[in-house]
Amino acid sequence: MFISMNWISDFVDLSGLDKMELIAKFSLATAEVENDIFHKGEDLSGVVVAEIKSVEPHPESKKLHLLKVDAGDGKLTDVVCGAPNVRVGMKTAFAKVGAQLGDITIAPRPLAGYESCGMCCSEKEIGISDNNDGIMDILEDVANGTDIKDLYEIDDIIFEVDNKSLTNRPDLWGHYGIAREFATIAKRPLKELPTIDLSKYDNLEKIDIKIEDELCQRYSSLKVEHVEKNVSPMNMRIRLFYCGMRGINLLTDLTNYLMLEMGQPMHAFDSRKVEKIRIKRFDKPFTFTTLDGIERNIDENTLMICNDNTPVAIAGIMGGLDSEIVEDTTTLTLESATFNAASIRKSAVRLAHRTDASARYEKSLDPEMTTVAIARFMKLLLDIDPSVQVVSALTDEYAFHYPHVALDFDKDFVDKYTGIEITDEHILDTLTALGFKVQQEGKNFHVDVPSYRATKDISLKADIIEEITRIYGYDNFELSTTNAPLYPVRMAEDKNVEDEIKDILVKRFRLHEVHSYVWQYADEYKKLGMEVEENIKLANSTNPNIETLRNSIIPTQLCQVNYNTGYATDFGIFEIGRVVEGIKEDGLCDEKKKLCITLFSKTKSLETLYFELRDMIAEMVEDVRHRGLTYKKLEATHSYEHPKNLNALVLDGTTIGKMGVAHPLVSKKIDKKAAIVFAEIDIQSLSDIALKTIEYVEPSKYPAIEVDLSFVAEKFAEINDTIKESAYAILKKVGVADVYSDGNNKSITVRLLFGDDERTLTHEEVQKVVDEIIEKLKNKGINLKA
């Protein structure tokens, strides 16, 4: 919203103060002011009122005229002018030689063979409107040579307030409210808004108004006749233009002017079209043409202004085309009303038509303003056009009153909340200047909140603190640290585990941490031949690609691997992210935090890469829980899983995740030759398993004996399980020294470590156990390699 300092100055005398400093203070105390501040008229000088004394056609140009103008300097000046509206006797804005118009300095110059010593200007050229149809037609009776800036309010400072910072301040949607803030900041009195007394029309006939819907809070109206003037005064048009609107005609300009001044939207109907004003909603949807000529679909939730049963305006948003003021309109019905804010907001959203009016209504305007606005409107109208006659009593239907807000607080509360010492005087002065009624009794304050702050903005003591402190100035606060007792701070275990895992994977295994999205990207999945799996969906996604939440990070990561195949021949990525595993019994999403790892290699065999991943995970789990993993074969259930190589990761009897090889169809789409393996671990399951403390074992003082045996076997587990069954006391460790396969037969060399903490073992007793082991395995069909 653009604010004019001239307009503000109508209501508070800011003379002698640095306006830019005040605007900066306003930005810190009230609402954000955008960086660009416009000094209107700054680059305009030397433009005066001049009268055209003669007009001759240019002999060689149809468009140009040769003028002689009187610029009040006792001589006639020759000017070549291309404007179509030149005429003898007309007064216009004349830029003399040496005048400044923006970047242009006026100098005598030849134009189509004749010298032009100056320039007649349009409103646009002076920067006071976008009208460039012809040169200015000055109707005021002023002496030639009068500086245009003395005639009109061209010099002004215009700043823009960020609308977002006014969301909760309905009182700041007009200049008068902003002026109240400037008055408070500058410690100068706020002038009363000039109005006329409307009670003198009380004996005239009332307008027929009925509020038939609770969404209308108040509806005030007045009828007037004999509006003779059609064009608004220049100064009014300049202000409208500077604030981002266009001058149209007197009545439209006045309603706009009033809205920008008081924040109260107003509307003028042709009285013939609104004989019985009814405010209501309709049971069935219908179409309605607004005054911009657009046909709009109105539903049963949209509040309408009607003439009996005929809709004439969308309440709070826009008037209708049929009830607009037209050429033969003689009587006008003015509307000044307030409506339920949420209803207007929703209607504007539904209609996709947010207007200056609806933007204000949705902030919860003060209903107390409606009649004041009419009184102010009439003051402005009568000042401009004294022939206007009021032909009805002020008619005012007031259906909904906001409750009066009064608050009590004491000085201790202010001290505690602010943490600094703010004087009683500051509290009193600030609140009074902002329009609060304050009574003080000792430490206690009783505050009556003005109606324009009580529609939603201020309802609590804490709200009063904001009023006091923002004017006090946050820059003036003395800073202090807190006085709080000490206590130990413990972090959640899953958070610790998460941090540790990241460190291990990055620092030890050189993986790259990535982030991704929580939904299944349909098109990306499709590219890799993966299915989008059934899961809970987004209800309002605007992108058909992102409808369904993911139930696993693995497919997400396969897409990311696909994106990175050119990055390196070998790489690994991981993410700790969220998935949703369907809906729980209570109807809420079953959200899980997962660690997902994917390795990609063009140099290693699938088997090597798979074991690299397995050992990486085992080492990581050993590190964070001090426990060893075991593995179980799993059946593949997802389109991206390899049917043969998929294993559950089991820790202390609990399945904490799985690892597997990417399905060849998916893998081949990513890279024809590369090996791709993945793992996914549930962070909560992992961190729920208690951390095992390190069990220290005193090193044996006696030598250990190592025995290597090679068996023909498919899986180590077949050998290991058999050996472990017997639980030999002297057998300390069973490991694998080598695995060999010639393509047909596979042999596994196990390394047995024998030892005793108390004595040196004899060769015989070790050999006895070794023989037993060989015998047992033989019985199970596992033979020593020949």
Partner: protein, 351 residues
């Protein structure tokens, strides 16, 4: 006999000259001075000589023996030096100018920034809380003073799910649960609630270089007895000075956020120009950094904390924005792209 000595001496000299290594030297030593060596043999011959001859011969043979021993010793040192040099010369001078060849893993830049913040907050006694990404309407809005149809809901385009839950649009969604988790300690022991909660947030909007539908925030609260606006400003200034590792100037402006009262927009002096004005602060000298404020009484109440007894402050930091500022990341979409060319650069940061 004396001739034998000069013969031996001459032979030794000539042989010694041809010695190339310690092995040959040892052979020569044995062949002259060993038990069966020629010098030893000559000395054994001495018994056959007369007393006169013995005296002269004995003197000369001793001189020869000592000379041979000394020269062998000297030759030994010479050969050792030569051999050492050979050993040294076996290894060529390495070409240190060759490019390094090593791999490093990388953290996501958000992790780096988040960790840095967490370290600062932990040092000030804050707990780090984790929170889910799918939340209820109550958690995200109702409990933090954003009732249905509140205009603030319009400010955030929220992703709703089929079951009525939503993807959290702000980390504020965790506030209520944190108050409920720690209120007992606050009320019974007077220990203030100090917590930060970093997390992923979602907004239903089109993405471009500056807009993402998935991003990270970090919210923090401190609630206790007599927590004041003065404490809030002090804390924000201290915390941000730590985050940016320099003395930061802060400026507060009124800002409207339903969950705080008063609410502020906090600006810091521009990191680029220090406050003089430059293109990155649009010549204002200030950067709008984060919203903060005193926790709204209704929010405390909803968390089971009596707003007449306790007060507190809350703030929200945009971790994604912080990471972008810190590393000069221009396109926000790079962060969720998984693009390693970009992400693998974040090997580790200052601790």
């Amino acid at each position: 006999m004396v001739d034998i000595i000069s013969e031996l001496s001459a032979k030794f000299e000539s042989e010694l000259q041809n010695i190339k290594n310690s092995e040959e030297l040892e052979n020569i030593r044995v062949s002259y001075l060993g038990k069966k060596g020629s010098v030893t043999a000559a000395m054994k011959e001495m018994g056959k000589l007369s007393v006169e001859e013995k005296k002269e011969f004995g003197q000369k043979i001793n001189v020869l023996k000592n000379t041979v021993a000394d020269k062998i010793a000297a030759k030994k040192d010479e050969i050792a030096a030569l051999e050492l040099q050979k050993e040294i010369d076996k290894v060529p001078e390495f070409d240190i100018s060759l490019p390094e060849n090593f791999d490093q893993g990388s953290f996501h830049p958000i992790t780096l920034v988040q960790r840095q913040c967490e370290t600062i907050f932990k040092s000030m006694g804050f707990t780090v809380e984790d929170y889910s990404e799918v939340v209820t309407d109550y958690e995200c809005f109702e409990s933090v003073n954003i009732p249905k149809y509140h205009p603030a809901r319009d400010m955030q385009d929220t992703y709703y799910l089929e079951n009525g839950q939503l993807l959290k649009s702000q980390t504020t969604a965790a506030q209520n649960a944190i108050y409920k988790k720690y209120r007992k300690q606050l009320i019974e022991d007077g220990t203030p609630i100090k917590a930060i909660f970093p997390g992923r947030c979602f907004r239903n909007e089109a993405t471009d270089a500056c807009h993402e539908n998935t991003f990270f925030q970090m919210e923090g609260v401190m609630v206790g007895k007599d927590i004041s606006i003065s404490n809030l400003i002090y804390f924000m200034k201290t915390m941000l000075s730590e985050v940016f590792r320099r003395d930061i100037k802060v400026r507060l402006r009124p800002g409207f956020f339903p969950f705080v009262e008063p609410g502020f927009e906090l600006d810091i002096n521009c990191l680029n120009c220090g406050g003089k004005g430059c293109p990155s602060c649009k010549h204002s000298g200030w950067l709008e950094l984060c919203p903060c404020g005193m926790v709204h009484p209704k929010v405390l109440e909803e968390g089971g904390i009596d707003p007449d007894k306790y007060t507190g402050f809350a703030f929200g930091l945009g971790l994604t924005r912080l990471a972008m500022m810190k590393y000069g990341i221009k396109d926000i979409r790079d962060l969720n792209s998984g693009n390693l060319t970009s992400l693998a650069q974040f090997t580790d940061d200052e601790k």
